[in-house]
């Protein structure tokens, strides 16, 4: 039975882009034909489309605000959603979403993908989002009685846990790192897994004032965009010099090696011009080329990765590697979007990651004590000032933390820092300074 009539949604199928409307329709048809023993209403996708069409027509959403659904033992991982016209759209009366902790860097076996699709077709809507902006596997839409059943199957048969939602630690996420990428300055997967296991309680049992995200990028290329999307961004870096293979540089110049790993093929860009494409594009102007030899003034390099990305066979990250740690990025709900701020210029990232765990502990204590309800760490940092934040972290202000001299003049002296404190002898002063 197809009751759907969705002229407005159908518009969204036109054009050359993929369409979520087409995707949902496809699942709707397949649910009508399947011989799977469906545990959720067969018409769930049809009702979802009809409900959205009605929302377009009314110019109003038809989902209630919030909803509390979950599994025993956990306070997060399930996002409760109820429709506000349940009589007309019974199949989406309750339509809860599950966040499932993704495997690090999204390594899957097809067997796992088949199993999770089978589970979700049977016990959910069949609609998934791989992956949500948190990084999780998103299973969209199921009914209340199914939640515990799904959780049992997930954890017992698929060996996969729920992720974070609500005011807790959100599922940590990492780039592909050392498993595939030569730019990785530390093992992002190891760090991500280790901290995920360490903070299971914070991940599953919300106790914060708001969400907290941590993301792990192996280098400043930032494949999981940690600097823009996480309260704590851990970004790989190195302390020493970029390693140069001068012969390989020559090979790029001679056209033997394709720049950018051949990434810009398909169009004729002319012969590779090292001066135009590398030297002149270095943001700190710290590179030189004399026709034979490439030189880098490493003290000025800010590790933007451009030269290394362009000539990966000639240039390599340094040997003394670790990570920079930045705090406070967020989306624009209050005060506008914010990137995270460099707080720890360099930290070694090795098992058992005690240093970063201790740091996180200090910050959570402060945020829980001082933060208002629904105040992100980045907002609290702004409200209290960066000097205070550094104090909390137990680190000293450092020129590397200052982006531009005028935008963040946050180094304030405290009485304890001044020899003799604030007290001055005016007579003594006047001996050296006329009135």
């Amino acid at each position: 039975m197809v009751k759907r009539k969705t002229p407005m949604l159908d518009e969204l199928e036109k054009g050359k882009w993929p369409s979520f409307v087409s995707d949902i329709k496809q699942e709707a048809e397949s649910r009508n034909e399947t011989d799977v023993d469906l545990q959720t209403p067969k018409e769930v996708c049809d009702d979802l489309l009809d409900l959205l069409e009605l929302s377009f027509k009314d110019r109003e959403g038809h989902w209630k605000h919030g909803g509390i659904a979950g599994v025993f033992g956990y306070g997060g991982g399930v996002i409760g959603r109820y429709c506000d016209r349940p009589e007309e759209f019974p199949a989406v009366k309750d339509f809860h979403t599950l966040r499932v902790n993704q495997p690090s860097s999204y390594f899957y076996r097809t067997e796992f993908l088949r199993k999770i699709c089978e589970l979700w077709e049977r016990r959910g809507s069949g609609l998934t989002n791989m992956h949500g902006s948190t990084g999780d596997i998103i299973l969209l839409g199921t009914t209340t009685p199914q939640i515990e059943e799904i959780f049992w199957e997930l954890t017992h048969n698929l060996k996969q846990d729920l992720g974070g939602s609500g005011s807790n630690l959100r599922t940590p996420n990492c780039c592909i790192g050392k498993s595939r990428c030569e730019f990785a300055c530390y093992d992002t997967q190891e760090a991500c897994r280790n901290l995920t296991m360490e903070f299971q309680d914070e991940l599953h049992r919300p106790s914060f004032g708001y969400k907290f995200k941590m993301k792990f990028d192996g280098c400043p290329n930032g494949c999981v965009a940690s600097i823009a999307r996480s309260d704590m961004s851990v970004i790989g870096t190195w302390k020493d010099d970029i390693r140069i293979d001068q012969e390989a540089v020559q090979a790029y110049v001679a056209g033997e090696f394709k720049p950018d790993g051949g990434g810009f093929a398909g169009r004729d860009w002319g012969p590779f011009d090292i001066v135009k494409e590398v030297i002149d594009l270095c943001p700190t102007h710290c590179m030189a080329w004399n026709g034979k030899k490439l030189g880098i003034n490493n003290r000025e390099c800010n590790r933007c990765m451009h030269c290394i990305n362009t000539m990966p066979r000639a240039l390599r990250i340094g040997k003394e590697t670790g990570a920079s740690i930045l705090f406070g990025a967020k989306a624009p709900i209050l005060e506008g979007a914010q990137l995270s701020t460099l707080t720890i210029p360099f930290m070694r990232m090795e098992e058992p990651f005690n240093e970063i765990k201790e740091l996180v502990g200090k910050i959570w204590d402060w945020w829980s004590e001082e933060g208002r309800s629904r105040e992100r760490l980045g907002e609290l940092m702004q409200r209290k000032g960066f000097a205070k934040f550094l104090d909390v972290c137990g680190v000293k202000a450092d020129p590397r933390m200052i982006k531009e001299p005028r935008s963040n003049p946050y180094i304030f002296w405290k009485e304890a820092d001044i020899p003799g404190g604030w007290e001055r002898d005016i007579k003594d002063f006047r001996k050296r300074h006329q009135k």
């Binding site: 909803g67 509390i68 033992g73 409760g80 609500g166 005011s167 309680d201 049992r205 106790s207």
Partner: protein, 106 residues
């Protein structure tokens, strides 16, 4: 609006089972609901301590207490709270305490 009958009294609850008529709350409501939230048998002294704390706080401030504050003031850590109320402080304890649904966020 769904209704729930406990010990001969009918209560209006929302789809998540949160009490809609806050003044109708009584100890019988909490006890009657316990099993649904995964609590076996009679509510213990510690259950009541948390429920009473939440109700007092709500009466005073009009909102549910933040979890950290709840832990601090009652002396129960999070593990203990989940042991008492398996569905957690928001879904479990607040519901039994007869508070309206805490507004959530993804």
């Amino acid at each position: 609006m769904p209704q729930l009958e406990i010990g001969g009294t009918t209560y209006e609850v929302d789809e998540d089972g949160f009490l809609q008529e806050l003044d109708k709350w009584g100890r019988g409501f909490a006890q009657g609901y316990a099993a649904v939230e995964g609590i076996e048998g009679e509510l213990t002294e510690d259950h009541w301590k948390l429920i009473d704390y939440i109700r007092d706080y709500y009466a005073q401030f009009g909102i549910a207490p933040m979890i950290r504050k709840m832990c601090k003031d009652t002396g129960f850590d999070l593990k203990r709270i989940y042991a008492l109320f398996p569905s957690g402080p928001a879904k479990g304890a607040c519901k039994l305490a007869g508070l309206s649904k805490p507004t959530g966020c993804v």
